[in-house]
Amino acid sequence: MTYTSFLKSECLVLWRRKYDIFNALLFFIMVVVLFPLGVNASPEFLAPAAGGIIWCAAVLAILMSIESMFKEDYSDGSLEQLVVSGLSLPLLVLIKISLQWVAVIFPLLVMMPLLSEMLYLSSGIFWVLVVTLIIGTPSLFLIGAIGSALTVSIKQGGVLLMLLILPFYLPVIIFATSAIQTAQSGLPYSGLLALLLAISLLFLVVSPFMTAISIKASVN
């Protein structure tokens, strides 16, 4: 096994399982569409709430896709093969997480103009939203991968996974939505973006190692 062959096989698996990602995205769209119907469809309500709605829906969709991240690899023994491959496990994990991120976030960003139009988000704020998603969501995947690897050997690990990783998601959601709100009230928001980026970078360093340790504990 080499890093490139691992990358190729992961791409293929992602492509064959594209309906899982499609499912998560459909869920994302449904939350965003149903929210105005259920609460209030007026621009006065939606425009300020738009950032929060989109971010919460995105977090839920990411949680859905992250839960099964290592499930299949665990049950068919590929995870074991990664451990004994002699390659660096943190690096393999990082490749896997990055691919998953691209596969979920890229389609999500493609849909974003339509959704932000639906929620009466002005075009200036739209770009702030896109930036928060691009620099904020990596941390969600990196944190989620640790939890997913920890709970992969447990039968009903879903609930435990939520309990484990949701507390770490909260700061990301808070900083991302407050960046959007600050931008909407015309205040400088770059500090909040910097914080988001800092969280992502921190987990970019920490998460591959912690996930690798969790994987080794799970295949034990």
């Binding site: 490139t4 299949e72 068919d76 080794k216």
Partner: protein, 204 residues
């Protein structure tokens, strides 16, 4: 001075859960040997292979590879090892060819085709693993033994779900491997018919 053995296991203790499986296990493996690990169910045969492969850590004891202590860092041994466990390590979502190319990207098409024809898998080259039988999946996993050139084979119950013909093919391939200077460590409850092995009994 005598040259160090291929693999030396010295005073190895293995723990699973709260149970201690191996207590101070000692043995040497030299080049060209087939070692069969025996023991009752739950005696720790699979665990022993996993410890050697570096999947799980040992409780105590050392493993030496050509006299070099690799207990802490298995990567040197892992580069020369092919471990096929209970779980085949074959991805359901991929086809037979994609699976093998994932494990060994540098295999030539000729080599791949000849291996698969030995194992009777050639017609299934681009069939998804999902639609194969258990025995066929096992054959796909085992075809790595033909394609990848590794010195040490760690095989956990390799004969499970293989038919008589498959067992014969695998046994003859193991024989060729040890003649060429390889080493096989396997666990099986089945008697080996055509090859001679050294047995190590794990007493429970």
């Amino acid at each position: 001075m005598q040259s160090p053995a291929f693999l030396t296991i010295s005073d190895l203790w293995i723990e699973r859960g709260e149970r201690v499986l191996c207590k101070g296990l000692n043995f040497n493996v030299s080049v060209g040997e087939i070692v069969r690990v025996l023991g009752d169910n739950g005696a720790g045969k699979s665990s022993l292979l996993k410890v050697i492969a570096g999947v799980i850590p040992s409780l105590e004891g050392c493993i030496y590879y050509f006299g070099q202590d690799i207990t802490q860092d298995h990567s040197r041994l892992q580069q020369d090892t092919l471990y096929i466990g209970h779980l085949s390590g074959v991805k359901n979502m991929l086809t037979v060819e994609e699976n093998l190319r994932w494990h060994c990207p540098d295999v030539t098409t000729d080599k791949l085709h000849s291996t698969l024809s030995i194992l009777g898998l050639l017609p299934l080259l681009s069939t998804s693993i999902k639609s194969l039988s258990a025995g066929q999946v096992r054959r796909v996993a085992l075809s790595r033994l033909w394609i990848q050139r590794k010195k040490l084979w760690l095989l956990d119950e390799p004969f499970v779900s293989l038919d008589a013909e498959g067992v014969a093919i695998l046994e003859s391939h193991m024989k060729q491997h040890v003649v060429a200077g390889g080493v096989v460590i396997l666990t099986t409850h089945q008697a080996l018919t055509s090859i001679h092995s050294r047995d190590i009994d794990l007493l429970s």
